[in-house]
């Protein structure tokens, strides 16, 4: 099978179209970054408190907001999370709700605000730790195990927590459910109502990042990326010519700008979290890979086609590698698209960055990197200098 047979497209002739396409997207992204949404930093970078709460019934966002207001929380963002059938809500608190002294004060306030009318002297099983359950069982000793029961009750507590989190997805709606649970002793299950009640929610996941970590992480991720770009520049300068390295770095910068810009435009639906940074690093690697393939062909063809103009050589090289470019991009895109569609909510931002990145990264090695080379060469010729990478004839 073969998709491309002797293609000969004048890519360089379309450079003005490419330029305007890239400009539209980068400027739109840049404007959003500067004047609209800014960089939509995730909690990892901006600091703050995220609490993922699952309810036993469809959540009433306005009631939750009212409860948060009563608890005195400043401007909490409350939004449904993932598929509606999961009854999950994400509560996002400002970084001001955490402090050096008590990092988790926001989380505690949320849980207290959501606990409506807790019966006196009982604990909430939906938000109890396995330790609390174990301590209760040790106290109560429903299985009459005597003094030496610690290991068995620890296992019982773990079985109850596992049933709640892994089988019931984090929230029980009736204490009777425990009676049918695997590995939970009936006597232990029957004793639970004496010490526990059930609220209508369970905290699934908590992320709290203090104010100073965010800035530190931003600097660190930024510096790491910058250094790795420098490393790339040096290697390409050493293997090819400096202009190739510069063209590759400019291309990668273009891809990153457009991807981050897209995140900014889509804010607040998507945020730049640490995993999104990993995806951006992936797209940098991918785009760079693509660029080098074209560059390698150009270098090879320069040796073979000494009389041709560079623009001719570059065009030929892009066309010769086009089949491989489309195939690789298509296949990688397929993997990433599968991740975006089936990868679940946690992976959504991550795979979105990859989906955008692969499209842009493939496009940019043809539309940005190659034209930069040609433009530079033409500029050198105009200035009357020898084009880089061309053979020289000298008098002997």
């Amino acid at each position: 099978m073969e998709f491309f047979h002797n293609v000969n497209i004048d890519f360089l002739g379309k450079k003005w179209y490419f330029l305007s396409f890239s400009l539209i997207f980068s400027v739109a992204g840049l404007l959003s970054l500067l004047f609209w949404h800014g960089i939509p930093w995730g909690v990892d970078f901006r600091g703050g408190t995220l609490v993922y709460v699952r309810f036993s019934h469809p959540p009433d966002v306005s009631a939750i907001r009212a409860a948060m207001d009563r608890a005195g929380l400043r401007n909490p963002k409350i939004q449904p999370y993932d598929q509606p059938s999961l009854n999950e809500v994400l509560i996002d608190l400002d970084v001001r709700e955490t402090s050096e002294a008590a990092l988790d004060q926001g989380k505690t306030k949320i849980i207290n605000a959501l606990e409506t009318n807790p019966p006196a002297g009982k604990q909430d099983l939906n938000n109890a730790s396995s330790l609390a359950i174990k301590n209760y069982l040790m106290d109560k000793d429903p299985m009459h195990l005597g003094t030496d029961a610690e290991a068995k009750y620890t296992a019982q507590a773990q079985a109850i927590v596992d049933f709640r989190d892994k089988v019931r997805g984090g929230v029980l709606s009736s204490l009777d459910e425990l009676k049918g649970a695997q590995a939970v002793d009936p006597a232990a299950a029957a004793s639970m109502p004496d010490g526990f009640y059930l609220s209508d929610f369970g905290v699934r996941n908590v992320e709290i990042v203090g104010p100073q970590v965010g800035g530190q992480l931003r600097t660190q991720a930024g510096l790491a990326t910058l250094y790795s770009l420098l490393g790339m520049l040096v290697y390409l300068g050493f293997r090819f010519e400096w202009i190739y390295g510069i063209a590759a770095v400019v291309t990668v910068f273009h891809d990153t700008l457009i991807t981050v810009g897209a995140f900014s435009l889509l804010a607040p639906r998507f945020e730049i979290s640490l995993t999104v940074i990993a995806a951006i690093l992936t797209l940098i690697g991918y785009s760079n890979n693509d660029t080098i393939v074209v560059f390698d062909r150009i270098r090879e063809n320069i040796k073979l086609m000494r009389r041709e103009k560079l623009s001719e050589i570059v065009n030929r090289s892009i066309n010769q590698t086009l089949s491989r470019t489309i195939l690789t991009a298509g296949l990688t895109f397929l993997t990433v698209l599968a991740l975006f569609l089936f990868g679940g909510e946690v992976l959504r931002g991550f795979s979105l960055a990859l989906v955008i990145g692969i499209l842009i990264g493939t496009y940019s090695s043809i539309a940005i990197a190659a034209p930069i080379l040609v433009a530079y060469q033409e500029w050198r010729i105009e200035k009357g200098k020898r084009p880089v990478g061309m053979p020289v004839a000298r008098a002997r």
Binding site: M1, D162, V213, A224, L281, N288, N289, L327, T328, V346
Partner: protein
């Protein structure tokens, strides 16, 4: 088959077995379940996939410096006294930001050489310079200061590890975090309750032994009344919280601001019993600490000392005689109290207090969800790629598929071997990003080679020479793409933090594996296929 080819094939099979062992070890049974347990034993998942508690702590290293500087102040005062040098004030002008800076005021000019020699002899870790207004400024040498701060962090790590071990967590991660910001990363897989972990760590607060000046008082007011409303500058009022429940109600003690010895001077504490069978606690101090403790106890025989933990008086004992580095605390103490006190002394070897910077709990259900969907997506993507390669490249598609599968085996095997070797490289979400890029570049290497072979065939080359040319041309490109990416990944590994590191690790090893599979393995398969063909027979590509 020629011999050379046979050796290469054996080498490939050997490599595959090596990495398969890394993934599965020797499974107890070959059933699906047996393989699954073997797999989860060998490949560890990161906290983001498995669920658990993640904390980042800031060690307040200035606490440790403060303790040292306060000791230096004491040493100076004592030396000035014995050398009969006059002074008006010795102080720490900025204990918050520059805890290692001391200022000495009012020393007469003729005593300057004495002062220099005292500092040189007794406080060699400090530099002394003359400052404005006839003052002298002492500052800790930069290397000593760094040393002190780093030691505070490593001691804290050690202490937290001891405490966490008591929880019985499998594979806890407790290590320094970031680049020299005195932070500690604590990751506890499977622990759903960060509050409990924090309680446990908080127990390991700052330990000091101080002189008791007054008390116990029934309340803070009573203590203040006794002192005429003002606590002298070199003393502080601390609440009591003694062990064993021997006292009822509130207790307050007036103690010296400066501590005689602190957590970092302590070597080890044990509960034991004295010659009468009474429970007691024995502890050892470092040599340096022992010297200071001797000076302190000789000056205060028949007075009392307080064991202060986290600014609470946990125990008060009277000083019977001058004591060096072997200390015994005994008398009205039951066995439980002795055990608790020695535990506090041991764990309290934390020379600085701690703040929390980051707290994450990943519920086990959420981690499981991301794994399930992540694996579904990865399998769908992989199968699509494998099928496509077969359809598009027919015979050569098998090469590509073998190379890709082998690449994944090597990558997973590497993760498995890291567990066997005890390095524990866990698979995290960013790590999966690295795997995706690896698969992408693996496909790319194959496509590059195959497209090149097709091109050469089109130019009229025979299959063997087209394969040869295809590999040698594509090889240059593959090296360039792989080396640049590995260079970037290595830099990311060095400068990046946790998740970025995870990405860089899987990517680097995936790419190294890919150089082997896409180039070497695929070439061997081609050579094998060609060796079975008649001259001039077409290649399926």
């Amino acid at each position: 088959m020629n011999k050379n080819l046979l050796w290469k094939l054996l080498f490939i099979i050997g490599t595959m077995l090596f990495f398969l062992f890394g993934i599965f070890g020797i499974p107890k049974s070959v059933s699906g379940e047996g393989l699954m347990t073997a797999l989860t034993d060998h490949i560890h998942l990161g906290l983001d996939l498995k669920g658990g508690t993640h904390l980042i702590l800031q060690v307040q290293v200035n606490d440790a410096v403060n303790v040292d500087a306060q000791n230096a102040v004491e040493v100076l005062k004592e030396q000035f006294r014995s050398h009969k040098i006059e002074y008006t004030e010795i102080s720490q002008p900025d204990p918050q930001n520059n805890p290692d800076h001391l200022v000495i005021k009012g020393v007469p000019l003729e005593a300057r050489s004495d002062l220099r020699s005292i500092v040189q002899d007794r406080l060699p870790e400090y530099d002394v310079n003359s400052g404005a207004n006839n003052a002298w400024v002492l500052a800790m040498k930069a290397s000593k200061l760094n040393d002190l701060k780093n030691r505070a962090v490593s001691q804290a790590i050690e202490t937290i590890r001891n405490r966490v071990d008591a929880l019985g967590v499998s594979e806890p991660t407790i290590q320094e975090h970031g680049l020299g910001q005195y932070q500690i990363l604590v990751q506890l897989p499977g622990i759903d309750d960060p509050g409990r972990v924090k309680d446990l760590i908080q127990n390991t607060a700052m330990l000091e032994i101080k002189q008791v000046i007054g008390g116990p008082y029934p309340s803070q007011q009573a203590a203040l009344q006794d002192k005429g409303g003002i606590v002298p500058i070199d003393q502080i009022l601390l609440p009591g919280n003694t062990l064993g429940g021997r006292t009822e109600g509130e207790q307050w003690f007036l103690v010296s601001r400066v501590s005689a010895v602190s957590g970092k001077d302590l070597r080890h504490a044990d509960p034991s019993s004295d010659q009468n069978g009474q429970p007691d606690v024995n502890f050892q101090l470092t040599r340096d600490g022992g010297q200071r403790f001797y000076n302190f106890t000789s000056a205060h025989v028949k007075e009392s000392l307080a064991v202060v933990l986290d600014n609470k008086v946990r125990e008060v004992a009277s000083i019977n005689e001058p004591i060096r580095d072997q200390v015994q605390i005994s008398g009205h103490m039951d066995a439980q109290a002795a055990k608790d006190l020695s535990m506090i002394l041991n764990s309290g070897a934390l020379p600085a207090s701690i703040h929390y910077l980051e707290e994450r709990t990943v519920g086990p259900s959420l981690g499981a969800d991301s794994i399930r969907s992540g694996i579904t997506a990865a399998v769908i993507g992989m199968v699509a790629v494998l099928v496509f390669m077969l359809v598009y490249y027919r015979g050569a598609g098998i090469n590509a598929d073998v190379a890709l599968i082998l690449n994944l085996i090597i990558l997973l095997g590497f993760l498995g071997w890291s567990t066997i070797a005890g390095v524990n490289v866990a698979l995290t979400l960013p790590g999966i990003a690295g795997v995706i890029l690896t698969v992408g570049m693996g496909v790319d290497s194959n496509v590059l080679i195959f497209e090149r072979i097709r091109e050469e065939l089109k130019n009229g080359k025979t299959p063997p020479s087209a394969v040869d040319q295809g590999f040698s041309h594509a090889w240059i490109t593959i090296v360039d793409t792989h080396v640049t990416t590995i260079v970037s990944a290595a830099i990311l590994f060095i400068f990046g933090s946790g998740p970025v590191k995870g990405f860089a690790t899987t990517l680097t090893f995936g790419l190294l594996a890919n150089l082997f599979t896409a180039v070497f393995v695929s070439r061997v398969i081609f050579d094998w296929v060609l060796s079975r063909k008649q001259r001039g027979e077409a290649l399926s590509i």
